[in-house]
Symmetry: C2
Subunit: 330 residues, 2 copies
């Protein structure tokens, strides 16, 4: 199974309780100057990724980079983030080099609040830093009976179709929608073949990755499976033109327009390494339709559609008449 | 070039002036009972596709299906479409079986109006019919200095990854953003490998299509190039799991949630053939950032970044000092 290469092998693994992981991680954030509440929030985003099995965006891959960023001054531990433009349904935030895993949830709170008031809330974020697992922010909408969206444009790392130089970020799109008794619908995928973090993780684990995930240092797609070379480049979703990489390229541009250009930050390829721009949205389901009905549909897909017994009788009778196998009930 | 198979060959083509095409097409719509203003609007959407070279969504492929739909009563020529729920930034419309190429622009007008008032406008559309070229609706936002989005979920035609039965629509996503002197940014792509219409067009043109676009009637992806068989099934963007079709599958579900579930219409796979649900959005750029700046970025990418001559002098001097080739100016 292709995805397994991105998990640590059982024989290499040391198990840690998530509570202990939280305590230590929070303490580390506080040591580099992050206030306690923000440190706990950052920790929650990281550990949520580890709990969901998204190791690429959990503590293993990200924490060392964040700590280094704070120590070297690229990350601002006490950012003066503020809304620089606002309407009833929108806001644009200047993140002041604050980490996205801390300011993202605050932006999403603003989006949710706007959605409560006027139906939809959309917040862009300029001068930001790494956003972590995008679905964390999208999923914040769920408990408010809202659909949540998160996109982020983290600097140029991905080749355009036919390109040899990186001009796009991995630019993920995350969408979360609530269901009734079922787990929520959660989509979270890079518009590149995979997240950069997954390739870095594969390198650390010395794992063999599938064909078509990356290009060599000259930009030529590597179309055989193998280990990750020392120098490589990222490809857009679809890998090559024949397999639809123009759609991945186009979607990455859409994320760039909504995160980078709309927030007034400039295309990621023109920005300094480490900068990132973001977009979060909350849709009040109640603004469009009945929440219970919305959730019900997903419930019915899982548990079956309740039909009146008279309808079942009609089915039985018509199926008999027309020589069709009887309708199977749950 | 892969895309050429979807265009009529020059030796098979008869050229028609777009004005004449408009007159005849409008007359046909009026003959089946569509009021003049709506007939002209529908014609504009179709001919816009033909003018842009999107033959799959122009008169050749679509008009016969629309006329048949009106004649057979599946399309309502005088729908009583109405807003069934509304907030300052959102609306949900019941289309009353009206054609999407006619009601879509009206929905987009409502979205644009809301965006003018509160920053963003999002309109979902229940009980609709075919939406035509999705980018037509998205592009309506451009002349208002807005970003436009359009998605549509036109019934189950596409296999989920590993699936053998169609459970998703081709579910395209279109996004348009204005640029200054440059043509606008316009993205419009099905979340299937290609639009269904393109495959139908390839069949009519007896064209050879690339590998991986469709599956055979049992759901097995056809991984060699060839002509379109009589029975076939559509694949999600990415074709197969190894090439990322789970991302196409997931994006199709996102479109389904935003169009079908959010409009209260139910998942497309549960609806009657020919039904379609839609989602349009307009984002006021002014709500987030300065419109001129937003457009400028795209202009600068094309025409160069204006630097003060002092900066150029500094470049010349530092490049000389550090033995780096001189900065090339436009």
């Amino acid at each position: 199974m292709v995805l397994e290469v991105f998990h640590v092998k059982e024989e290499d693994a040391v198990r840690v309780r998530h509570q202990d992981l939280r305590a230590t991680t929070t303490a580390l954030f506080m040591k580099v100057g992050v206030p306690r509440a923000d440190a706990e929030l950052a920790t929650d985003v990281l550990v949520a990724a580890d709990l969901r099995g998204v190791d690429s965006h959990g503590v293993s891959n990200m924490l060392r980079s964040y700590i280094q960023g704070y120590n070297e001054g690229r990350l601002n531990a006490r950012p003066n983030w503020r809304i620089i433009r606002e309407t009833p349904s929108t806001a644009n935030i200047d993140c002041d080099a604050g980490l996205g895993i801390i300011i993202g949830p605050k932006a999403m709170d603003i989006a949710i609040d706007k959605a409560k008031k006027v139906g939809v809330g959309i917040v862009t974020m300029a001068h930001g830093r790494h956003m972590g697992m995008a679905s964390y922010h999208a999923m914040m909408a769920l408990k408010h009976d809202m659909i949540g969206t998160c996109m982020t444009a983290p600097g140029a790392q991905v080749l355009p179709t036919f390109g040899a130089l990186e001009r796009l970020g991995t630019n993920p799109i995350a969408v979360a929608a609530p269901a009734k008794e079922e787990p929520p619908f959660v989509f979270d995928a890079a518009t590149s073949t995979v997240a950069t973090n997954k390739i870095q993780l594969a390198r650390r684990l010395d794992a063999v990755i599938p064909a078509g995930l990356i290009a060599d240092k000259d930009g030529t797609p590597i179309m055989e499976e193998g280990k990750v070379p020392a120098e490589y480049k990222m490809l857009p979703m679809g890998s090559v033109r024949e397999q639809g990489s123009h759609k991945g390229y186009g979607l990455a541009c859409v994320v760039e327009v909504l995160c980078s250009v709309l927030s007034g930050s400039g295309f990621a390829a023109m920005n300094a390494r480490g900068m990132a721009q973001h977009y979060v949205a909350a849709y009040s389901i109640e603004a469009f339709t009945d929440v219970e009905e919305f959730k019900l549909e997903i419930e019915r897909r899982a548990h079956g559609i309740p039909l009146h017994k008279e309808v079942i009788q009609w089915y039985d009778s018509i199926c008999g008449e027309m020589d069709v196998p009887r309708l199977r009930t749950v």
